[in-house]
Structures are given as C-alpha cells and as structure tokens.
Amino acid sequence: MATAVKLYGPPLSAAVSRVLACLLEKDVQFQLIPINLARGEQKKPDYLKLQPFGQVPVFQDESITLFESRAISRYICDKYANQGNKGLFGTNPSEKASIDQWLDAEGQNFNPPTSVLLFQLTLALRMKIKQDENLIKQNEEKLEKVLDVYENRLGESRYLAGDEFTLADLSHLPMTQYLVNACDRGELFTSRKNVGRWWDEISSRETWKKVVEMQNSRPRRSA
C-alpha cells in the first residue's frame, strides 16, 4: 500500500536519521526519498520550495509539509500518539515538558559543539579545508562541560527526562554515533560512567540499529 508519509534526505544526515529513528519508534510506515547533498540537490529550486533554508530533512504526509527534525519528531509523536512507543513524548504534560527541556538542551547545548567537532574532524578533511586546532579544542571543552552535566543527571535517572527512553535521548543518537564511530571521540562518552552506560543502552535499541543499517547500506560517495 502506498504511504502518504514521505521523508526527504539521506540517512547519513544526522537530522534525517533523527526523524528516521522517531518514525521507527512510532511504527510509522514511510517512504524515504533520497536527496544527494554532494550534488547540491538540496539547493535546487524544487527542493527549496519545500525547505527554503536548503537543509534536510523534509517531512510530508497527506495534510502537511514540515521541516526541522525536532519539529517533525514532535509532530509525529502528536499525530501517532496511540501507536508504537507511546511514551516517546511522555504520557502527561509534565513528562512532556521534561522531554522538551532535554530536547532543547540537546539542540542548544549539545548540538552546537558536536556539529563543529564533526565538521572539523571529518568534513573539513574531505572538503580539503584546513582543520582549526583552536576551534577543535574550544568545542571539545564545551562538550566536556555539557557531558559533565549529563553525567550528574544520568546518575539520578536512567534516561535524560526520566526512567523511560524518550525523544530527548533519541535526539542525541545521530551526532553521538558520529563522534564515537567516525571521529574517534568515544572516550568523551565512555570515560563518564553514567553517560557511557546511557550511550550503550540507547545505541543498542533495535530501532537505532536499523537506522545505522540504513546509513551503512547506502553507497558512500566522495564529496
């Protein structure tokens, strides 16, 4: 049966994989439409009509076109509240708010330094841009401070927003996957007992393993 739900973007993109993980957790059938970033398909006029900032992913169903991976994930949890992982976005307003708090902490505190590190440690080399040692050091320090807060938090509760896996934890999967497996920065996580335990648990989820499989099954292209 053809599904109305479409997701545009490559599974290797962190933001795309964030939504993929959410769709899988919520048991939502979808069609993945490839966008070749190396060929600049995200900057073509047809795509810009869907996402004017020229970024991936874009989500479409029968009633909406949406962008911004964390907004898409919230919408999916809202629309498909009664299927799949029902606790993914909490079961009451205070749980939801706690999840929103950690989702925003991810977006505002975790994501910026990890994005810089990912760029400097992998993409810069591929794009033949000189690595900025100062920027790497600065952002490693920023990330260490953030992970210290996480270490404390994850000593008090099993997952970030409480004792269940939620969207807040899910949102950290893509960038952490890269830092651990592609940037040789696993020690940032494994050297912290609680963060290490948390990373093992969330990255071992069947849904995330499936996303990683999707990432690895695409032929790699050089930039």
Binding site: L66, E68, A71, Y75, D100
Partner: protein, 215 residues
Amino acid sequence: MVVKVYGPAFASSKRVIVCLVEKEIKFEVVDIDIFKGEGRSPDYLKLQPFGLLPVIRDGDYTLYESRAIIRYYAEKYKSQGTELFGNTMEEKGKVEQWLEVEAHNFHPPIYTLVAHTVFSSKLGITPDQNVIQENEAKLGKVLDIYEERLSTSKYLAGDFFSLADLSHLPFGHYLINGVGKEYLIRDRKHVSAWWDVISNRPSWKKVIQLFPPPT
C-alpha cells in the same frame, strides 16, 4: 502558588515572561545577574545545571530552557489568554517548525552579534569585526527567507500570532535597540512590518517596561 521566573532582566527569561503575559498567567520574578556570575552559584546550579537563564519554579516543579517552558504553559493554559499554538495539529506543527527555525537559524547569529556588541564588556569578549560581519551576513540570509515567507503569510506559522513569532521578540529587540544593525530588519519590507506588529503587542511593551535590559 505563583510561578517564579528567574533573571527577568535577561532576554531568554523575557521569552518566558511575554508568554506568561499573553496567557494571563500570574508570575513573580527572582533577580539573577548572569554577568556577576550568579548563574554559577551552587544554589542556582541545583535549579539549572548548565548555569543558564531562565529557570522557572512552579510550586515543586522546576523547568528550564525557555522554549520548553513556553511550550508547557501554552499547552497547560490553552483555554485562557492568547492561543499561541494554532488551532489544529497541522497549525501546531508549523508553530513547532518555525520555533525550531528561530532556535537554530535566527538565534545563533543574533546571539553572537549581541555578545560582540551590546554586552561584549560584560561578557569579557573583545569585539571581533570579522565575527560581526560573518554573523551579520548569516542573519541577513536567514531574514531573506523570512522576507519571502512573510510576503505570503501574516505571521511565521500562518495567519495567526504564535509562539514562533513570540520567540523572536527578546533578541529581535536587541537587533533594533543596541546592536546597531537595524537595517537588517528595516530594509526588508515584510520583515519590518511583521516586527512592528509583534513588538507593538501590549504584552511585549509591558515586559520591556517592567523589566529593562541590563545596562
């Protein structure tokens, strides 16, 4: 029990306060001076472990991240004050989308501009003209997209005022009042009109009057 908002002088706390005013929710404030390091005190870190503003306390309940706080109150008090999340699931989706755009595309460059201009000495930052120019250019590109959007839609998420527009008020205010780059707004006809509409809402005028920014 009245909700307490920490750090009202500061922009991110104002994001929460203007939402509470729109939703007709009573609140109290607790002054915290980030510039004097009060965000790093052990007592404050118990409430907000990243040492950032704002945090709210609502009885025993504590919540931080201003956009998480405004989502919580917009939902909890849906039946009173201004509707800030739209009226359908799809409208809410659009509000969430543009709230994320504000958080990830608008906020980073404007924050950097404010840090290198208005509050550089308070933050111990030496203003860097290269950084200023780079972020001016970034913000300009973002506002070009806003210009296009606002030429076909009265507000960001649709034809209704929402959390997405509201979220731009605190740092947008600095862009006009302090950063010295007002042209970024004024040179864009639809962005300029939108800014005038949202910043003239009684709620925002009240917030600015009650809680002047730090000098």
